[in-house]
Amino acid sequence: MSLDDLYREVILDHYRNPRRRGALEHPDAHADGQNPLCGDEISLDLAFDGDRIADVRLQGRGCSISQASASMMAEAVAGRTLAEVEALMRRFKAMMDIESGDPGIDASRPGAALGDLEALQGVRRFPVRIKCADLPWATLAQALESRGAGSA
């Protein structure tokens, strides 16, 4: 595993030019994620239209892996229904070996299953960095839970 496979161009692009930066004035759901050991931070706002994520905004700081993963995730979940987002989360966690399952990635069709996020596959070979890639996803799960709790 070479470092060039870890630090793919698309990852550095999302790190340097993060998509969907900012905060929503009236978010329907919000969560703050932190990795207290390394200080990575993610602040996530969601707006819903029914069960569809109408808007996503992110703030945060941290390493290239956590911030690129956050930016890619924001693009991937915007406009998706909750069911689609949950399927995406399962695929991502399967790709990172965080959970068992089939990420459904087809090597002959790069990006078909998870879009830019597939570039994070290289992180699997650097076990101490998997938690960096997962931080935004754990924050998303937290935000979805908080919305569930709020509307219940």
Binding site: L3, D4, L6, Y7, L12, R16, L37, C38, G39, D40, E41, R61, G62, C63, S64, I65, F126, V128, R129, C132
Partner: protein, 409 residues
């Protein structure tokens, strides 16, 4: 340049490769590698002397007790204590500082009193005092740093008055490497009736320590940062203060007499060592200070000052690299924290690891300090007596590789 490279053969772990390269271990501020002498002493203890201390009437228990108390005497001599009774074995620096906060602070601080720390401090010399403030109604205050990362003595006078009861100060910063003028701060503290507590987690491994010359009241250190095992450290305290302190933990070994409702305590230091102590670890700690004393702490300091100066010089060649800490070697030790362009320290640590170089990335348990520096994290290379100039040189191509991967011009 002093040459301690002959010592490398004493450290079995340093002989290995990591990711296909010779291991370059530059994280001794986090924990140090162990010489064979320490490993052998602990092994011999378990193979030949293992018995519980201070209770058995048989010869083996007597021998174990002599080894344990012998280690205490070695640590006492190493820091210049007046007597081995001034050394309390603790789990490490953190528990040593907590022992002072809860054994002394709880009984001497009142609402409105102040505890003065510095902006350098590790969480181990911040959070115990925050807990103490919560219990007593005392307040925390911080002595600021100068623009070149030294403790600002000019601000001492307006921070220090009769309300200050405790001054907590690092003997050497684990982030900036700064070596504060502890003796001058302690003298000023004494003049207003405050005690001085030194976090010597980085000082004791890297600088000669003489508690009498420093004029301080308590000093805490950890064995694992000075070639010894994890799980043990020492609290040195002036005997009259220790004798007047309450134990933070109760149990076996620390009592004089136990009644159904009340008990009386053993004298210091055993009063603060409830339960069966870490005996093998104490033996290892003793072997570690023997090893350091044989090398000579002046020699250790000379070697590290040379390496640090060399590292600062080499790192200044790297475009976009910023070092946080005093530029002059006489004011600093061998913890060198830096950032490189917009490459996050974790990414740097991963890239260097692939070259066999172990450095630390993060806030190094000093979040308030990193907020002052205005960065969430730094990368840190830290040196010890077994490191070499060639290992410093190894940083350069690895940092160049990081710049290539991130496309830093």
């Amino acid at each position: 340049m002093s040459d301690l490279s002959r010592l490398r053969a004493d450290f079995p772990l340093l002989q290995q490769e990591m990711n296909g390269r010779p291991l370059v271990y530059l994280d001794s501020a986090a924990t140090t590698q162990k010489p064979t002498a320490v490993l052998d002493a602990m092994d011999a203890y378990y193979r030949r002397y293992n018995a519980n201390v201070h209770r058995g009437a048989y010869t083996l228990a007597q021998e174990a007790t002599e080894l344990y108390e012998g280690a205490r005497a070695k640590v006492a001599a190493f820091v210049g204590a007046a007597s081995p009774r001034e050394i309390v074995f603790t789990r490490g620096t953190t528990s040593a500082i907590n022992t002072v906060a809860f054994g002394w602070g709880m009984y001497h601080l009142r609402p409105g009193d102040r505890i003065l720390l510095t902006d350098l401090e590790h969480h181990a010399n911040v959070v115990p005092w925050q807990l103490l403030c919560r219990h007593t109604g005392a307040h925390l205050d911080y002595l600021p740093l100068t623009p070149d990362y030294r403790v600002d003595l000019e601000r001492l006078a307006d921070r220090l008055d009769e309300r200050v009861k405790v001054v907590g100060i690092s003997g050497m910063s684990n982030v900036l490497g700064t070596i504060p003028p502890v003796a001058r701060v302690a003298a000023a503290a004494r003049a207003v009736g405050a005690i001085t507590v030194v976090d010597a987690a980085q000082m004791a491994p890297h600088l000669p320590v003489d508690v009498a010359a420093l004029g301080v009241d308590f000093l805490a250190c950890s064995a694992h940062k000075m070639l010894g095992p994890t799980g043990i450290g020492a609290l040195w305290g002036r005997l009259e203060l220790l004798e007047a302190m309450e134990p933070a933990e109760g149990g076996g070994e620390m009592i004089r007499d136990v009644g159904r409702d009340e008990s009386t305590w053993a004298p210091a230091p055993h009063r603060f060592e409830a339960g069966t102590p870490p005996i093998a670890e104490a033996v290892g700690f003793g072997a570690a200070v023997d090893y350091l004393s044989a090398v000579g702490m002046d020699e250790v300091r000379r070697h590290e000052a040379d390496l640090t100066g060399y590292a600062l010089e080499r790192l200044s060649e790297v475009p976009g690299l910023v070092v946080y800490g005093p530029p002059e070697v006489e004011h600093r030790g061998g913890a060198v924290s830096f950032t490189l362009a917009d490459i996050h320290p974790h990414d740097l640590a991963t890239i260097l690891d692939q070259q066999g170089i172990a450095i630390r990335a993060g806030h190094h348990c000093a979040q308030p300090l990193h907020r002052l520096l205005g960065v969430p994290a730094t990368a840190r290379a830290s040196f010890y007596l077994y490191n070499t100039r060639r290992e410093v040189d190894a940083l350069l191509p690895a940092l160049a590789e990081a710049r290539r991967l991130f496309g830093v011009a």
